[in-house]
Amino acid sequence: MARYQFEPFDYVTPPELSGAGSASAPIIIVGAGPIGLAAAIDLATHGVASIVVDDNNVVSVGSRAICWAKRSLEIFDRLGVGERMLEKGVTWKLGRVYRGDREVYNFDLLPEDGHKFPAFINLQQYYVEQFLVERCADFPDLIDLRFRNRVLSVGQDETGVAAEIETPDGAYMLRGEYLLACDGANSRIRRQFGLDFEGRHFEERFLIADVEMDADFPSERWFWFTPTFHPGQSALLHKQPDNIYRIDLQLGPDADPEEEKKPENVIPRIEKIVGGRPFKLDWVSVYSFNCRRIDRFVHERVIFVGDSAHVVSPFGARGGNGGMHDVDNLCWKLARIVTGSAAPDLLESYNHERVHGADENIRNSSWTSRFMSPEPGIETAFRNAALSLAVDTPFARRVVNAGRLSVPCQLTDSPLNGRDDDVFDVPQKVGMVALDAPLSDRDDNATWLMSQLGGRFVCLVTGEAKAPAELPDGVELVRIGRGGFGDAEGRVQERYGDAVYLIRPDQHVAARWVAPGAADIRAALTRCAATITA
């Protein structure tokens, strides 16, 4: 299997410096990592133009984010790359947890059928970025992607933002209405703004290695507490496409990163895990991690998105996935603001909803970190008690914490939520992402509920419920049953009951009724795009 070929992207002298005039777009995006690229595409699907600048000219060196969760795949699908990712990625849903060399328990992350996307796929971040860059090219009039353009500083006033940018041909200024700081965990913009990155640093060091080998390991997540091949520490093995395996090894707080990274130290460790199979080292890195966020993600016209706003430990795959939720949440709001159909303070709901999401991610990944590297003494005693009870006592298996993998947070307290006639015995609630379900269209072709939602407000009417007599402008009716889409396997009935739902452009449920009138829908819609206060 051929390894990934890193092809540098072309640098083009920007028009501001080539004498071709100056470009303009309402949105400046700093950083072409997964988050900045996804934001540019999401905005473009709303018809909003952006200029994306990145100081580099290659995709992520090293696989970095490999685990993409179901919800992120649904977002990527809305952006037009979900199926490509699914096809290339390794689908998995089963995790096994070992203590020593003995399996303590295993878990199935998506125990029910009837969803377009699986619980997780593994796909190297470099593929994701490449697919996103290629997708950007489908919007030549809306996305202006500029590599080797480094932002030096950012300024703003009531009328707009300005970024000072350095290129191989010199420096220039870009102006826009809003700027998205997608410049990663070491965000220069965050530092320039003097924002505290509050939270905790974990001293524990981890070795991360991608190895290429022909092996028939199943597509599962294997996690070991204190395996015999790596005494006293933890280890993780994960399969990626192209016969690449991700191996994470806990090293303890005192490990010397430079020393540990040397092949003569890495190779013997990996040999013990893979049991004598031949392998090649593809990428090695030693890291410790932080669980932190900035206080507010919105600073007037400068908006922090992804790792610039929050970082977590990698053990719940909540970094890249969390950033994708930010993009999903922000872009429809920003698009409405710059096109004049919503007031600027709609941005406050991005701050509210995504701070809530980041806190959930930080909490979960901190708890996992504590379980994986307990303090000596009583913390270790509790940890070991949970592990040894888990073998025969079912409850303890759920106390053992080898990573709580990314699931979407529930926006139960969102200021945008409208009414919830919660009279149905169904899992769907207001504030949750809509649950997917298989459908059949008028010609009896198979399709998915998620494919009918997103990008605009939808009034979803299910089962025996009656659609309102009229709908406000900008709300589209999607009918399941009664002459609309067919509920192919009865999942819509099971998940939604007989009700009327207002679904946001980010596929979250904003309100639900048994039998709303047009005025009810209008009220919920106004609430979603209306002025709210911090």
Partner: protein, 66 residues
């Protein structure tokens, strides 16, 4: 009442586990042991069923590391 060993901690189990560890922060080993002992006595009284408690003791003992 037979001892319930199925998961029964709801959605807050990770939070509770973490709070349990937090309750021990800053304590000496002896104090930690006393805290645990106190907790067990409180919970034992709350359960109030001799058979259940005896079963729990056996279960925990069986799971001790060698």
């Amino acid at each position: 009442m037979a001892l319930n060993t199925e998961f029964n901690l709801g959605t807050e189990s990770d939070a509770l586990f973490n709070e349990l560890l937090q309750a021990h922060e800053g304590l000496s080993r002896e104090q930690s042991e006393q805290l645990n002992a106190g907790l067990i006595l409180i919970l034992m009284n709350h359960i109030g069923e001799a058979g259940t408690i005896r079963e729990a003791v056996v279960c925990a003992r069986a799971a001790l590391d060698a």
